[in-house]
Amino acid sequence: MNPVGSALGAAAGLAGCGALAGLLPRHRARTVLAGVCTAGTGAAGAAAGIAACAGDRWSLVLPGVLPLSGLHLAVDGLSGPFLTTAGIVIAAVALYGTGYVRPAGTGESARGVQTVLPLFALTLLLVPAAASVSAFLMLWELMALASLVLVLAGHRERSAVREAGVWYAVMTHLGLVLLLAGLARFAAGAGGQTFTDLRAGAAGLPGGVRSAVFVLTTVAFASKAGAVPLHVWLPRAHPEAPSHVSALMSAAMVHLGLYGIVRVGFDLLGGGPRWWWLALMGAGGLSAVYGMLQAAMASDLKRLLACSTSENTGLMLIGVGAAGLFADAHHEELAALALAAALLHMVNHSAFKALLFCAAGSVLRATGLRDLDRMGGLRARMPLTAGLFAVGALGAVALPPGNGFVSEWLLLQSLIHGLAVPGEVTSIVLPLAFAVIALSAGLAAAVFVKALGVGFFARPRSDRAAGAEESPPAMLAGMVLLAVCCAALALVPGLLGPALDRAVAVAGFRHGASLSGTGIQAQLDGVSARLSPLWVVAALTAATAAAAGLPRLVRRRPRRTRARLWDCGGGAPTPRMAYTATSFAEPLQRVFDDVVAPEQDVDVTPVRESAYLVERVRYRQRVPDRLEHRLYRPVLAGLSHVGAAARRLANGSAHLYVGYGFCGLVTVLLALAVGW
């Protein structure tokens, strides 16, 4: 039997067991059993993904499962990387989840969550394996519903959860409508609904239909991926979900949007005109900068991470868009390089974002805090969690020796080499895209210095932060697994070379990008660039050791003495004097004042006797999401206005309602009689 098929079968079986285990009455047994089954689901999925990456193909038709069409599943080289990363993240997060849940059995550890989590994990694994429109849409919707249930886990405790749930439900279902319309039109035009039929029929479709299909599906996928301006649900839903679910959503579900764009745009439609890809790059660039700016303004740790997900999605979309642009100009090598960079960034983002969300969850569990302003001093109380967060942050800031640097380097290389494509458009778009990536990388450095430095360093700024304790071993084990993945991706990214080559080949580009064992290399007709992360790390380690040894050469007795903080002679400062996340971001907020438009209020209450003596000054600041205000609020206001106006039609009179029914019937009959 095919290894992919048997591994996916095992995953499905384990997920079923996990869902059943989640129904058990005893809390402890339920948590452990469901967690182990979910971890097994992830491991089996990862095994299937690795087999697919190694070149195994698998397909299955189950005629009786879905009415009329049957269930078509297939795994190929493009599904491989998505299956593998989702599988590994699921396994690590499930392990982490066995320790994360609270003993009380409420909220995150309620029975519903533990039942749905394995099913959500399974849909994450099956969406990239769907091979027909009906199967894809069904699994996509199951995934959305399962994640919605999980987001709503804490709805009894916080009203923000309910609001986030409504936003998410509406956005994801609007996306589903677009996806349904686009794929249905595609299937109707191609004369069949399996992906094989679509591939064969795509070439015969008129240009307008192809473009309509691409635009409809891409808008739906980009909304799932959190691209600006369809991102509004993401910074609400991801922070409000339980942290291990946030990790799954940010590190696995969001990437399926990218998968959808690559699958439909390149594999099924076989590429398209230039404006598709320019629009995609535009959306990517907007997401990259706007997402990171929102993250820079956020002081809620999980919201910050969610906004950074938008940014990373933007980088991947830039890569995919550049690939389409190069393919349109018949530069297949360049297209392969750009697409491989986007996929590599997807893998890297999975590893570090899952780790960061898990670490944020540990902090939330230990302190009950998500607000960076009130944290601080956690590195002394939760040293392992702080260290693991630092590993994730190093990946996210795109600096060596982190894993994010490798993929951003490859993306920048593809843009630099892309200037070989002639035309004014490339000579303007590519430098701008380059600058956008560089700006978002610079902002990312500020954002993660803030998250790590303000959240974990210095001294605690609240009693809850002062009373934090290290997480239980299961949670640490899950995070260590993810940290090991980050380190492996940072040191030997070349191991992914063959898998990426296969994925890119499915998208229709035969020349793979060159990633080899010790480093990565972009080699294109005479132009080359090389990066050897292993050597960089070795050189940095040696140089740090030498620099640390320098004082010892001069002075034999380097015993450190402890002394009070000097603080310019001001004496030991209190924790209230330390910089908070809000104050750290203030200069950036001023620089980008026109873009983020913060709202500030100062209330001055004078003493009753005199207007000149101040009793209290209250300062309030909010940084609202400006796109949400400008784009969504008017639409929502218009809708509720229409709703209010329509109430006049329903005044409670039964006669009137019967009249409506009569008019409706007559209209339908007339329409039929006229023959329309």
Binding site: R379, V397, L399, P400, L412, H417, L419, S427, P431, L432, F434, A435, A438, L439, G442, A445, A446, V449, K450, G453, F457, A458, R459, V527, S528, A529, R530, L531, V536, A539, L540, A543, T544, A546, A547, A548, L550, P551, V554, R555, P558, T561, R562, L565, W566, D567, C568, A572, P573, M577, A578, Y579, S583, F584, A585, E586, P587, L588, R590, V591
Partner: protein, 317 residues
């Protein structure tokens, strides 16, 4: 792997490490003379370093591992950069990995390490310095990378030895509009990155105007020595990068001992000259308000963007 190549790498690291305090001393001396002061002499930073290194290492209460590791990491990132950039020879064993994006990222890693150390101290000044430094760094990064992009177009590679070797062979590239615009953009970015006037004042004594100095206020003794050495090395590396890329004459392109010796002398002379010119310029500049700095960097960014498009349209036919 050639003898002169290995020697070139070793010599680059050694000359940057040993020469950085001297360059700082030279710049201070030039400034002092122009302002009508006698100055402390070129070797004063060396004497300061020696004094600091002999002092007792101090750990302020409440600081953690990030605070202790940052000085060594700052020096290490700069030393690795010094090994990668072709100051003396383009034919070195590390040349194939000397990617310019990697060089920029390594320098940024040093900035990040120091900013984390500033936050780790938990003082208001440390946080203030870190916040300002990261704001400037976030805006410098696109500028410097775009200038790098402009540089890499004629060589069709981001490999620094390839860029420098190409410029040595075809000096006309340097005088092209694209080359000049990229030089201007990179020069502004270097000023911001090294914390010189008009972005930051390295000699300030007023805490509220400090950027770099505010972050490192809590350091003392050997740690302070490493921080100072790291900052001086960064200045040397970035000035050296400017000279190597825009005035590449004298850099050895083959495995020859004689060329290496010439390259060493020329590199020292070029960097000293550029440093002296920068110090002379600083006498006439005032520090910009912090919130005017983005305008300066935006101007530099525009120059770099113009350089990229110019190099495309001028070489496009």
């Amino acid at each position: 792997m050639s003898g002169p190549g290995i020697a070139a790498v070793a010599a680059q690291v050694a000359v940057v490490t040993a020469g950085a305090p001297l360059l700082a001393g030279l710049m201070r001396q030039v400034r002092a003379r122009l302002e009508g002061r006698a100055g402390a002499g070129i070797a004063q930073p060396w004497r300061d370093l020696r004094k600091l290194l002999r002092k007792e290492p101090i750990t302020p209460v409440g600081t953690g591992p990030a605070f202790r590791a940052a000085p060594a990491l700052l020096v290490a990132t700069t030393a690795v950069t010094a090994a990668l950039v072709p100051f003396l020879s383009t034919d070195t064993p590390v040349g194939r990995n000397a990617d310019v994006i990697l060089v920029v990222a390594l320098l940024a890693l040093g900035t990040v390490a120091l900013a984390l150390a500033g936050l780790d101290s938990g003082t208001a000044f440390g946080g203030m310095g870190a916040s300002r430094e990261m704001t400037i760094a976030a805006l410098v990064e696109p500028t410097i990378l775009l200038a790098v992009f402009a540089l890499s177009i004629p060589a069709r590679s981001t490999n620094l030895p390839a860029i420098v070797a190409g410029a040595v062979e075809q000096p006309a590239r340097l005088a092209s509009p694209a080359g000049l615009l990229a030089t201007a953009a990179l020069a502004v970015a270097v000023l911001a990155e090294t914390g010189r006037l008009p972005v930051d004042n390295p000699a300030t004594h007023l805490e509220l105007t400090m950027v770099h100095e505010a972050m490192v206020l809590e350091y003392a003794g050997p740690d302070l020595a490493l921080v100072e050495l790291g900052a001086q090395m960064r200045l040397t590396v970035l000035l050296g990068l400017l000279t190597s890329v825009f005035a590449p004459w004298g850099i050895a392109t083959g495995p020859s001992w004689a060329a290496l010796a010439v390259a060493l002398a020329v590199f020292v002379a070029k960097t000293a000259l550029l440093g002296a010119a920068l110090a002379a310029g600083e006498v006439f500049w005032a520090k910009l308000r912090l919130f005017r700095v983005p305008e300066l960097l935006a101007g530099s960014f525009l120059l770099a963007l113009l350089a990229v498009t110019a190099s495309y349209f001028l070489s496009g036919e």
